[in-house]
Symmetry: C2
Subunit: 288 residues, 2 copies
């Protein structure tokens, strides 16, 4: 899917580049969009479309929107009043380069523009009803009942002993729902039936949890040069994590459980799920 | 239009109240929504619908969305890294009560949810095509090419001598485009023809500028108890304002010019514009 990711990267910046806005704001938005990252969310959209035999480029506008929302959430999460991170993917965080005010506004701008972008897809490309469903699902996944609520719960969970159930709920909201949206968006674009869509959502639930567990594991035994920031931040913040609740080995077992379950669900689908399987493996074994 | 505003106020909180999210986040969002304010933007939507002989309640979901976006922008603007305001409408600002992280996230939540709300209007109430147009126009008015860009330009304009033209452009983006959206949204809901819509947009342009000039005047000669915060903040921040560029009397003359022009445009319309005229007078003569 490399050509698709190359196209995505070009389009991400081009979209912002073409807008009329103050230069610093533009630079700040593009800085974080171009800071790299694994582009897991776009990959999930492309791979889901591929499972239905559809061309990934059809999902490009949705992939751009989701990546903008993901990027805004990273910019805001890194702020001094939140996670107070100086490095992200090996580079200074947005507020370290552009200042706090600009970082907040770059995030606001990316979030707002992501909805504009979806609303601007020509009706000849995507029927109006589907655009509305995508906007609604994206807003739900990333708003107070999804990502924003999860980030609040995550911050409030610092210095507290959480149960596995609580931890799972926080991450289902903070990262899971946006990952699930990506798979669902692919299903919507491909006119999938309800049963297939539901099974894909269950699949997404498991890779979402696997993703988070691997994040926790990397914060313990990952290599800082590969992750692009210091490890040990969960421990420093006294955060409940999968390894802290289950031991490192217990967390790895749980990770494998979710990866296995995700693959089992894929195998049940009458689709060409090879690329979704590859992403599942990537999530379970990534080193950054 | 009092009953409509009462209804709006109830619905604003009820919408958030019914969502599943962490309690503190909910309180933080509702705190700022209930902090009062003139509800000028919803009034503009209601008054525009009235001009076409339509019931204001038809514009309620759009009015709620716009007021949520306006509220998010106030929360973020008040943050220490931006305007650093402790008081808003006589009450402690959101971050003073809930802390900076929660204030940022409450703003993010309100912004995101405003798009969800529009996407959830039943198609029996509003055809899909109109929903998309409203979402697109709202995003454009409040995003990097609108409000967010205007806020950046406003911050960058501090400690600089701006021209009237530059000042006008900043405020057209920072406050004007969202006010214009309200009038345009009314026109969209009422199926207005292009000529009428364009005249209404010109009208909105003038009341937008009048609104900002009066804001600048109130920062000099307003009563702090009525405004709900200290006056003189523009001078303290060394900001270019209409009075600083035109003298206080010159600014008042300019204000009257825009009010007169706005009313002239209304008089040219084949509509029942009594309520829009009242809002124009309100904007030109408000003491808070």
């Amino acid at each position: 899917m490399k050509p698709l990711i190359t196209l995505l990267n070009e389009e991400l910046s081009k979209n912002i580049q073409n807008l009329h806005m103050p230069d610093t704001l533009k630079q700040s938005m593009i800085y974080s969009l171009e800071a790299g990252g694994k582009r897991i969310r776009p990959l999930l959209i492309f791979a889901t479309l591929d499972a239905f035999g559809m061309d990934g480029t059809y999902g490009l506008p949705v992939a751009i929107s989701v990546e903008m929302i993901h990027t805004y959430s990273l910019i805001h999460d890194d702020l001094p009043s939140m996670d107070n991170d100086d490095l992200r993917r090996g580079k200074p965080t947005n507020h370290k380069v552009f200042g706090e005010a600009m970082a907040i506004l770059a995030g606001d701008g990316l979030l707002t523009y992501s909805f504009q972008l979806l609303s601007e897809i020509p009706s000849s490309v995507l029927p109006c009803e589907k655009k509305i469903v995508l906007i609604r699902e994206l807003a739900k996944a990333s708003g107070p009942e999804g990502m924003v609520g999860g980030q609040v719960a995550d911050l409030e969970g610092e210095n507290q002993q959480l149960s596995i159930h609580q931890l799972q709920k926080i991450h289902a909201n903070k990262t899971g729902k946006l990952l699930t949206f990506c798979v669902k968006a692919g299903a919507i674009l491909a006119d999938a039936d309800q049963e297939t869509t539901e099974k894909l959502e269950q699949f997404a639930y498991h890779i979402g949890l696997a993703f988070q567990i691997q994040d926790d594991i990397l914060d313990i035994e990952g290599e800082p040069e590969k992750i692009g920031k210091q490890t040990g931040s969960d421990k420093n913040k006294n955060k409940s994590t999968y390894p802290s609740l289950l031991t490192l080995n217990g967390a790895k077992e749980k990770l494998n459980g979710h990866v296995t379950e995700a693959k089992r669900l894929l195998a049940e689908l009458p689709l060409h799920t090879k690329k979704l399987e590859m992403i599942t493996d990537l999530i379970g074994s990534r080193d950054h």
